[in-house]
Symmetry: C2
Subunit: 299 residues, 2 copies
């Protein structure tokens, strides 16, 4: 799907705004140990597509008074995501050396500082929610509950635990889709739902936006597995081929079936979004752009 | 200071209530991986004095309708504290094998699950704040901001970063007191201030309660350093003597001077508390009981 110039311009400017705001949020108060501060910048300001904050932003479609809140909410989600990447890359987990075109945080700063940077980002994310400009306290409370559930013992943490300690025993499609959900879907869904809450959408539209993001997340994880089996580390910007001994949709059914599943999830994502007042084209265009390279993996 | 029977009974029952509530909060919803769930129970339900939740409880001095909120707030603080212990004990940090009379979490469950348990506890703590019974959303927001600041890059995380990577270069009393503040005081202060906020005390009393807890935390850390230099591992329930190559008030000025500093901080703590409507005797009695053993280290 080609991108109309106007949509592309809107997307780029939202991304620039997100980058600028992330930078501001890391311009920390005095008292941050310099080594920790450097690690935070290394991890959070590395090249990234910023999918989750863009997802938040395009779900909110903020008017002027809501722009600051939409950006900060997106940055909070990006901090949580970055924290999860730092931890996933640790020697005791995926033992990765490259991430986002850079050495992983523990390679650059040591494991202790990497872990502390992850904790700082996670904690700061909740602090940002509590300080969102122009958002009432009831909504802030709802956002905190949503984010906590997405991260915690039935969310990202559960996904990583299963990935590290139980992946070997997962051999059926149900188990893989649950794992994909927990590793990726759960934060996509939380990001989108939080955007819908910030926008003040009624509950049934919050649900539909969540369903959209759920399918988006599953499509994304499948695309990631396809990328892992095809790309070079240079193309991916991170370690690849590490999943060779893990069961994924790709290893289970092959690339063609995985690609089919990926496309089905994208279709379902679009269908769910059309049940809401969220303007679909910018989001679908964003997704098309993200996956453009992935749909035709280069050798 | 001997404890009147009534105060002792009140303290024990608050502690029992805290233990019971921690247990309930870990009776997690379906979907928590069993290995993670076991690690959470291992870390959080290990024998502990529960100083921080007791501190919250005695600052709130809850009437019936506030008891549930005071207990949950205390449990949230205890989860954050436990998360920090799990991480501090990791091989890349203090490399400890025993904690709270048990093998450290990474010794029992591996590093990956230990780190994930810490993240789950931290995340859940913010979830608990968002769900506090009988607390208005404005107060919930204020509590979340306070906890986030206490944990993050100018709080516990900064303290641990300095302890791991800069302790060797800290040789002066100012640096040590700042480190003690970040490692212990900051969460004591947050716990006490959050209790004061939950109780609805005016800002100047929230400040005074924070000052009380600040001195309490410094006294506690000094007592811990004294304990480390004196006790056996069996008495302490954790690794001891690991600080031999670290600069503490004990190594810098000797045990007598450290003991003097400890008592001065306790006096200042009491003086600050007397500026508030918080009933001092139960808190001072709790403190006396905690430090009873520490003041007269056994050989």
């Amino acid at each position: 799907m080609p991108l109309p110039d106007q949509q592309l311009a809107g997307m780029l400017s939202a991304r620039d705004a997100i980058e600028g705001r992330l930078e501001q949020l890391l311009a920390s108060p005095t008292g941050v140990p310099p080594n920790l501060s450097a690690a935070l910048r290394h991890a959070l300001l590395a090249p990234s597509k910023r999918i989750r904050p863009l997802l938040v932003y395009h779900v909110v479609e903020p008017q002027d008074a809501q722009i600051a809140g939409a950006l900060d909410l997106g940055c909070a989600v990006e901090m949580v995501h970055t924290a999860s990447l730092i931890l996933d890359d640790l020697p005791c987990m995926d033992d990765a050396v490259m991430r986002r075109q850079r050495p992983t945080t523990h390679m650059a700063f040591g494991q202790a500082t990497a872990i502390l940077a992850a904790i700082a980002l996670l904690s700061q994310a909740f602090g940002i929610l509590a300080a969102l400009a122009g958002v009432d306290d009831a909504t802030k409370t709802r956002l905190a509950a949503e984010l906590s559930a997405a991260v915690g013992w039935t969310g990202l943490v559960a996904g990583q635990e299963l990935d590290v300690n139980e992946r070997a025993s997962i051999v059926a499609v149900d188990g893989i889709e649950r794992l994909n959900w927990l590793k990726t879907g759960v934060l996509f869904v939380a990001a989108a739902r939080m955007g819908a809450m910030l926008r003040g959408l009624p509950d049934e539209e919050v649900e539909a936006v969540g369903l959209f993001a759920s399918h988006l997340g599953l499509a994304f994880q499948t695309a990631d597995d396809l990328l892992d089996s095809n790309a070079t580390a240079d193309e991916a910007g991170k370690d690849v081929g590490k999943d060779g001994n893990k069961t994924t949709l790709v290893t289970l059914f092959g690339e063609q079936a995985a690609l089919l599943s990926y496309r089905e999830h994208l279709d379902k994502a679009e269908a769910a979004l059309l049940q809401t007042r969220v303007n679909a084209p910018p989001l679908m265009a964003m997704i098309a752009r993200l996956f453009e390279r992935r749909e035709t993996p280069t050798p």
